[in-house]
């Protein structure tokens, strides 16, 4: 075990998979000499050369489309979209092509590729360097969506995503990159896609969350624990397919649920999770299913006042915990 931040963990995962499997290639804007705008691909071009670490023209649709083609012929491309906000031009390639190739060819063809992209707010990125995009993609059958919150998870899940036989959208919360440091196993390991983790056990209510909001939720849970309210905190880690078992088991034990995400409320992933609980654990519920999320405005403004106001945080989550506990 060595303490690393999320950035380092991701870089290591890329490096190890490139080293062990020559089918793995990386393509995206500025992934070469520049080492990526967040330095996640730093040094890779020196080690693997420009034929495997490919600086792409400013063409998101081609980046994903070319990755699809390469994956069809047996490569294992890792496409990088520089910011999640710029993934929309590649929407068609992701939704219509990567996610449906296996289904539409009845299993003849498949797209074992990973699309990595930094998402989320809290670093003064303004409207177009802050977006959360997970709800949109978690609604796409045939695509897996992964969103780790810690260095060890980031590494283990990224390696699993690269080895996965299906297309995976790998969401890296950019605020966690340098902020979140923790022990990372030194040996080669993967973590299974589709499995949530109980990060903090508790008996009074369940908080279901992921990404940066895991850390805010944990803080909130600690604060509420001072008054004897024990919140269980679940990190979903994979957003599609959802680990329904983990969600429902927890709520059946605690009888109350709060879903927390940074994305805007309406149509966010929290709706799906709340719906699952309301339909499949209804009999166990002792209170409304609560959602803590950003308001329904288009991403966070650049100025600091409003960025703070926009984002969910430990204080807002704590308030929700206390209210639900008192219900």
């Amino acid at each position: 075990m060595t303490v690393k931040n999320v950035l380092q963990a991701i870089r290591e995962a890329l490096d190890e998979e490139l080293a062990s499997d020559e089918r793995v290639i990386v393509l995206g804007q500025d992934v070469g000499r520049r080492g990526g705008v967040f330095r996640t691909t730093e040094g890779l071009i020196d080690r693997y050369g420009p034929s495997r670490i490919i600086d792409a023209p400013l063409s998101e649709s081609a980046i994903v489309g070319v990755a699809i083609g390469a994956s069809l012929a047996g490569h294992r491309p890792i496409a990088e979209i520089q910011f999640a906000d710029f993934i929309w031009p590649a929407m068609d390639q992701i939704v219509s092509e990567a996610a449906r190739m296996r289904y539409r060819s009845h299993g003849t063809w498949s797209c074992p590729l990973v699309i990595r992209t930094p998402y989320g707010a809290g670093i003064h990125g303004g409207l177009y360097h802050s977006q959360s995009i997970e709800a949109t993609f978690a609604h796409v059958p045939g695509l897996k969506v992964v969103a780790p919150a810690t260095p060890a998870d980031a590494k283990g899940l990224l390696k699993a995503a690269i080895r996965d036989p299906d297309p995976v959208l790998f969401l890296e919360h950019k605020r966690t990159y340098r902020l979140i440091k923790d022990e990372v196993p030194d040996e080669d390991y993967t973590l299974p896609l589709g499995k949530a983790a109980i990060v903090r056990p508790g008996r009074h209510l369940s908080i279901i969350t992921y990404g940066m909001m895991l850390h805010e939720s944990l803080k909130a849970a600690e604060a509420a624990a001072v008054d004897g309210i024990e919140a269980e905190v679940i990190d979903l880690r994979t957003l599609s397919p959802l680990d329904k078992t983990a969600i429902l088991d927890s709520v059946r034990r605690t009888h109350k649920a709060i879903v927390v995400h940074e994305d805007s409320l309406t149509g966010g992933l929290g709706g799906e999770i709340a719906a699952i609980i309301a339909s499949e654990a209804f009999d166990a519920l002792d209170g409304p299913v609560v959602r803590v999320a950003a308001p329904d405005s288009p991403a966070t403004p650049f100025n600091s006042t409003q960025e703070e106001l926009y984002l969910p945080n430990a204080a807002k989550i704590e308030k929700a915990i206390r209210e639900l506990a008192a219900y």
């Binding site: 023209p57 063409s59 081609a62 083609g69 390469a70 498949s110 036989p165």
Partner: protein
């Protein structure tokens, strides 16, 4: 931009095609046409829900197939490519399985609209109905070939309409930058459904767009299968020599409405259609082969009756097969445990 002239009037056997190959090109064009006509009839009879044709495009499509290494080169087709599928090697039965959407259809097991072909043995990649999304795929397949050193090319097929889409621009440009072994094959029939070329683009030749990417653009008579085959063969050689992609534009005409749902009388003058049909590439090629002595009356009749039987058999065969299993609906959304993938499983 290079313009490949039609060779239709040359009266000696072209040195680069032996008589058997010439007859085979003809046979596949005719097989495609016959399947096409039958599929149309089936849709008019309500036995097929929806069909889309390649009538008028046969010389371009079959010709292109004969410029490739069939089964080794990667094919990214579009919905207009019945003749291409037949040209590459798909059988009448396989085509009719797609038309009837029956269990065992190799393209999609009845999941896709007809004429959306896919075949592992022929390296025909499944395409969606979304215009031009296959163009970057061909670039990616070519990237893969280049990286692994396999001496094959990838070919993307699309219409002139598709050349106006972002994915054309991005995909071709990416391939050009990396000098990938890929051929972009545009079938210009002058219309995107009802939208005539002058409302699609200002330029005359899609091939002239090659210059925007620093790659050669070649115009070829899409009614001449041999000219097309040669243009493709040359582009293939260039690609394998490391000289990158070529944009080939075959000038063709669509004989039918866009699909069984369309009515082209709303937007195409009948005289225009009739004039194009008068230049039908299939009888023209037959006449040419007859003039060359490669085909005679009896051989021609033999081919025709063989094809008629083949198509009859295919219809009967496909229609005898069951619809896909209900339980099959949810298969292959993701990899199944222990399933062998074609992609990603080298």
């Amino acid at each position: 931009m290079i313009s490949t002239s039609s060779l239709s009037n040359v009266a000696t056997i072209p040195g680069d095609f032996d008589p058997a190959t010439l007859r085979e090109i003809y046979r596949r064009m005719l097989l495609s046409r016959t399947l096409d006509l039958r599929a149309w009839t089936l849709s008019r009879q309500g036995r097929a829900h929806f069909v889309i044709t390649s009538r008028g495009h046969e010389a371009a499509e079959v010709g292109s197939a004969f410029g490739l290494e069939r089964g080794r080169d990667w094919i990214c087709p579009y919905y207009r490519n019945l003749a291409l599928a037949v040209g590459i090697g798909m059988t009448a039965r396989e085509v009719m399985l797609s038309v009837f959407a029956r269990e065992g259809d190799p393209s999609s097991n009845g999941r896709q609209l007809s004429m959306h072909f896919s075949h592992p043995d022929w390296r025909i990649i499944s395409g969606s109905s979304v215009v031009s999304s296959q163009i970057p795929h061909a670039a990616g397949l070519a990237l893969s070939a280049k990286l692994s050193g396999e001496p094959v090319v990838a070919v993307a097929y699309f219409g002139e309409g598709g050349s106006n889409k972002g994915d054309f621009h991005e995909g071709v440009n990416f391939a050009a930058v990396h000098r990938l072994p890929v051929i972009f094959f545009c079938e210009n029939n002058g219309y995107a459904i009802s939208v005539p070329q002058r409302l699609e683009m200002v330029i005359e030749d899609v091939a002239s767009r090659g210059a925007a990417y620093g790659i050669p653009g070649v115009v070829v008579d899409g009614n001449d299968p041999l000219a097309v085959a040669r243009a493709v063969r040359e582009a293939r050689a260039r690609a394998l020599a490391g000289d990158g992609p070529t944009l080939i534009e075959a000038k063709v005409y669509r004989f039918t409405p866009h699909s069984s749902d369309d009515d082209d009388r709303l937007y195409r003058p009948r005289e225009e259609v009739e004039a194009a049909v008068a230049r039908d590439p299939i009888p023209a090629f037959e006449r040419r082969l007859r003039a060359l002595g490669v085909l005679d009356e009896s051989a021609s009749r033999a081919i025709q009756s063989e094809i008629a039987a083949e198509v009859d058999d295919a219809v009967e065969f496909a229609d005898s097969l069951p619809h896909p299993e209900p339980a099959d609906l949810l298969r292959h959304v993701f990899a199944e445990n222990g399933s062998q993938m074609v992609g990603g499983a080298r």
